[in-house]
């Protein structure tokens, strides 16, 4: 099996706070890994480092065997990594279609100025996450949370990402929307996409992942099959009193 993502001895300090503490894990191509931990455990910070939005204090991040530590965020995206944001970040004065268009744009001024946008590709991406053609002309500022999550996903897929880092895909969604997004992700898994998924909704995440890691205060406390991770003594302790568990 090919290793898609290999994080080794990753450390991130914010002043005195250690947000990522000597974290190592591997993610095989086509596999799906869940990343769990209480609020403030450092899950989002791991994503930001993999994307190059934050520089790690030390440690390495390899993508298909190549150290990507020196690459900019757009360069990493060009290689096929993409993320969604925990709090959706749409371009709110643009339409849904234009939001997807930004994701589809190649990082080249020449083709941005002289090339044309691909309507059918935009339709296809929009529909793949559950938008109707009519929805595509809505302004992103009109969308409710469920649609914002779909848009987030469509725009990330539009960049051509094959390894998807999904931060709280289910937060703020209705049960209907959860099963819709869940079906979409299952379909993407069948098509060979690789996932790193963060979610506080453990039951919704369960069918989407092959294994899981749990972190607390930046440190890994358990790793393995999801049920084992959940049964782990330290994981239970860290979640105790965390009102989000199982919500």
């Amino acid at each position: 099996m090919t290793i898609a993502l290999e994080v080794s001895h990753l450390v991130k300090r914010f002043g005195g706070l250690i947000a990522t503490n000597d974290l190592s894990f591997t993610l095989n191509e086509g596999e799906s890994l869940g990343l769990i931990g209480p609020n403030g455990a450092g899950k989002t910070t791991v994503f930001s480092q993999i994307m190059g939005e934050l520089r790690q204090t030390s440690g390495t991040i390899c993508y298909f065997g190549q150290d990507i530590g020196g690459l900019s965020t757009p360069e990493r995206i060009a290689k096929g990594i993409g993320r969604t944001y925990q709090v959706p970040r749409p371009f709110s004065d643009l339409t849904v279609r234009e939001n997807i268009r930004v994701g589809l744009m190649p990082d080249s001024l020449i083709s941005m100025i002289f090339g044309r946008s691909d309507q059918s590709k935009e339709n296809e991406l929009g529909q793949s996450v559950g938008f109707s053609i009519r929805d595509l002309d809505k302004s992103a500022s009109e969308l409710a949370m469920g649609d914002l999550r779909k848009l987030e996903l469509a725009r990330t897929l539009a960049t051509g990402a094959r390894v998807l880092l999904l931060d709280e895909v289910f937060a703020g969604l209705t049960t209907g929307e959860i099963s819709m997004i869940s079906d979409l992700l299952k379909d993407l898994r069948r098509r060979g996409f690789t996932f790193l998924i963060v979610s506080h909704d453990l039951p919704a995440m369960e069918p989407l992942i092959d294994k899981a890691i749990a972190i607390e205060r930046g440190t890994m406390i358990a790793e393995g099959v999801f049920s084992d991770v959940l049964a782990n003594h330290d994981v239970r302790a860290s979640y105790l009193g965390d009102t989000d568990v199982g919500s």
Binding site: S72, P74, I77, Y85, F91, L94, D107, I113
Partner: protein, 298 residues
């Protein structure tokens, strides 16, 4: 049309055309990306001084001195402001403001024999004879710039600039190098500023550094873009004409700098009523009449 209007009105129209060009130039960078430039007089000044010096002191004909002035503006502006484009928001504004002031100081100390020092330059060769021809040239330039920018902003490049104004990190998160996009927006903006500045120098025939590198001039440009409607092409043009005629109309009533307070007040009230500017107000009126849905674009 020019035959029917008074010479004074014609001059006012010409002023409005040039202001529209400057406001469009500002808007392509600042109205779209949200990087507020306080340095447009600096760019316009490079264009104006370059063609003035080249044509007056070195005898370069305007058909060469103007394109040269544009190139000098683009690259001169880029060299000093590129580092600033990497920093965010308000710092960009501060750095550009500093450069405007620096330019004012520089033209006085560096080679005053060329720049004319504090007195500026007079006797810059005119390109046209008479107010009508000057007006036609100004309108042509304005419409040419508007068309060019409109075509450019319709592309994916235009959409991306707009997206930067909404959430720059998210544009990077969509795989686009935002520094490159901002640099290109800056170059386009500088091109238009240099072009406007150079033609304006030949139109007025003289340059006075205190009037050019001046806060009043800067605010007139920004207010024109904002009250007309930033992020559009028609907005800054609309705003420029509105502002110039408002100032002209206020001149007999309020001869001094108080006029600027009045337009500041008008701008503020308009802005509170509709932050997207006069064009959006006009559109919503039209749509209300026709009963359409409200759309914010122009």
């Amino acid at each position: 049309m020019p035959e029917f209007v008074e010479r004074g009105t014609l001059r006012t129209m010409i002023q409005a055309c040039y202001l529209a060009i400057f406001a469009m130039s500002w808007d392509v960078l600042s109205g779209r990306t949200g990087y507020i430039s306080f340095g447009h007089p600096f760019l316009i000044g490079i264009g104006a001084y370059s063609t003035a010096i080249l044509s007056k002191k070195f005898g370069v004909p305007p058909e060469y001195s103007i394109p040269l002035a544009i190139v000098i503006t683009m690259f001169g502006g880029l060299v000093v402001l590129l580092p600033a484009l990497r920093i965010k928001g308000s710092y960009f504004a501060l750095v550009t403001l500093a450069f405007m002031e620096l330019m004012y100081q520089l033209v006085q100390v560096i080679r005053p024999d060329l720049t004319g020092g504090t007195r500026g330059i007079t006797g810059i060769k005119s390109l046209t004879r008479g107010a009508e021809a000057g007006y036609e040239l100004a309108v042509t330039l304005m419409l040419g710039v508007a068309l060019g920018l409109w075509l450019l902003m319709r592309t994916r490049f235009g959409t991306a600039l707009w997206a930067i104004g909404m959430d720059e990190d998210s544009v990077r998160g969509s795989g686009l190098s935002t520094t490159r996009l901002k640099t290109m927006a800056f170059l386009v903006s500088a091109l238009v500023a240099g072009l406007g500045g150079a033609y304006y120098a030949h139109y007025t025939g003289s340059l006075a550094p205190r009037a050019l590198f001046d806060i009043d001039f800067l605010f007139t440009i920004i207010v024109a873009a904002l009250i007309g409607g930033a992020g559009t092409i028609i907005g800054p043009m609309f705003g420029a004409f509105f502002l110039i005629f408002l100032l002209e109309w206020l001149r007999p009533i309020l001869p001094g700098a108080e006029r600027y307070f009045v337009y500041g007040g008008v701008a503020l009230i308009l802005y509170m009523y509709q932050p997207k500017g006069l064009v959006a107000i006009a559109q919503s009126l039209r749509d209300r009449v026709r009963g359409d849905n409200y759309d914010h674009r122009a």
